[in-house]
């Protein structure tokens, strides 16, 4: 049985802190574009955008960036379903793009996202916000904004549930456990 490490209120507090850190680092929301990495990065990006607009009274453009076709393990599994890419109308050229994802692990997803981003445009800067950093990086990549540093062993699985993506009415949670076959919501 996976052990819960963050409950809904912990996640809400972490996202509020990340939102403030993004604003402090960038001295306001002027040039920001938030891009969530599907699936779970997208609702997180929207939640951060809501918090930023509540503070700044400015609507930050939010979008999503699918990295499926840029994965380095694309050939190792049957063809994966594509997920939506939605770039906000203003584009990303000259903007500060904050990539948002749920779990930072090997860093390979972010590597793919940086490649995908360069095919969309040329941002002035790219920053990374993640809800959980579980370590075990395989590439020289780090997050700028971290909700929770979570030391894990490689055998463990971190599963993130977000209310927006669950049909069964369950609430937000981050749990850690040993791998069960076909865990729903597992993330690597």
């Amino acid at each position: 049985m996976p052990a819960e490490v963050l409950d809904a209120r912990d996640i809400a507090r972490a996202l509020t802190r990340i939102s403030h850190e993004i604003l402090e680092r960038n001295k306001g929301a002027g040039d920001l574009v938030l891009l969530g990495i599907p699936r779970r990065g997208v609702p997180l990006a929207h939640r951060i955008a809501d918090r930023i607009s509540a503070v700044e009274e400015y609507d930050v453009p939010v979008g999503s960036l699918d990295i499926t076709m840029y994965r380095d393990d694309l050939r190792m599994k049957p063809a994966r379903t594509l997920l939506p890419t939605e770039i906000p109308a203003g584009g990303i050229d000259g903007k500060v793009v904050v990539l948002v994802d749920d779990v930072l692990f090997s860093g390979r997803t972010i590597r793919a996202a940086l490649d995908a981003l360069s095919d969309v445009g040329r941002p002035r800067a790219v920053q990374l916000a993640v809800l959980v950093d579980r370590g075990h990086r395989e590439l020289p990549i780090r997050a700028d904004f971290v909700g929770k540093n979570l030391p894990t062993s490689l055998a463990e699985r971190v599963s993130v549930r977000l209310a927006e993506l669950e049909d069964d009415g369950s609430v937000d949670s981050v749990a850690i456990g040993v791998p069960a076959p076909a865990t729903k919501g597992e993330s690597a």
């Binding site: 076709m69 694309l74 050939r75 599994k77 049957p78 063809a79 379903t81 594509l82 770039i87 969309v120």
Partner: protein, 316 residues
Amino acid sequence: MKRHLLSAADLTRDDAELVLTTAAELRSLADRPIKKLPALRGRTVVNLFFEDSTRTRISFEAAAKRLSADVINFAAKGSSLSKGESLKDTALTLEAMGADAVVIRHSASGAPHRLAHSGWVRSSVVNAGDGTHEHPTQALLDAFTLWRHLGDSKPGGLEGRRVAIVGDVLHSRVARSNALLLQTLGAEVTLVGPPTLLPVGVENWGAETSYDLDAVLPKVDAVMMLRVQRERMQGGFFPTPREYSRRYGLDGRRMATLQDHTIVMHPGPMVRGMEITADVADSSRSVIVEQVTNGVAVRMAVLYLLLGGSESESNE
């Protein structure tokens, strides 16, 4: 998805809807400054065209290139094919060159099936039109166009929609593939044409048939006009072109009897004045140009789903 795409009948409803949703994501690529994705980098796609084709070949070529595959075009004219080489020897050549996918158009029905199942090549085979048999990617792009206009781009969106396929059904591979695929997706298909241009055995297609275009038009959500393929006709299938277009051509008067949301499609190439008049082809109901745009996205989706993943597990 199976390893080959030879017939629209190979696709289950889930497969077909996966192609449509994948194509919907890929279609947005056309609006981006860099129209390229790295998914098929290092893979080789051979376009093997034994029959003349402009739009299908260009569409497949654009699709493969946008996915970063290497494309080799093999046209019958000006190649060893015109010197009498057999399909088998051509296939062995392609195999020796390391083709990952072969897109084949052939005037003989069943040639893609032969290529796929003979053991000559290990690559995936995509049927780009064989004789009067099938043209599955055309059916997929037609279904995609219908799905965007009538189905809200949602799974199950074509359930219960009515589509009329009008004209030379007998010689049309597009009609057969569309009849199969659209019914898989839950649409109701009516085939309309003169008795001489409806094939023997059409009652087994599962679609309704009619000889009376005027009775069908007010009931349908989409009209697909077919070209009269005179190059395949030996003998008299109708008295005169004028009589054909009077009875089965779509003109402004007939268009006025359509429901407001009904769209007009044509797989191309059109013969204006024969099966469709210029004012209909250029009207706001016509989605003929959009069909071409959608063709690239749908063919990208097919190539990605056939080649994008691992070979071992997609071979099942």
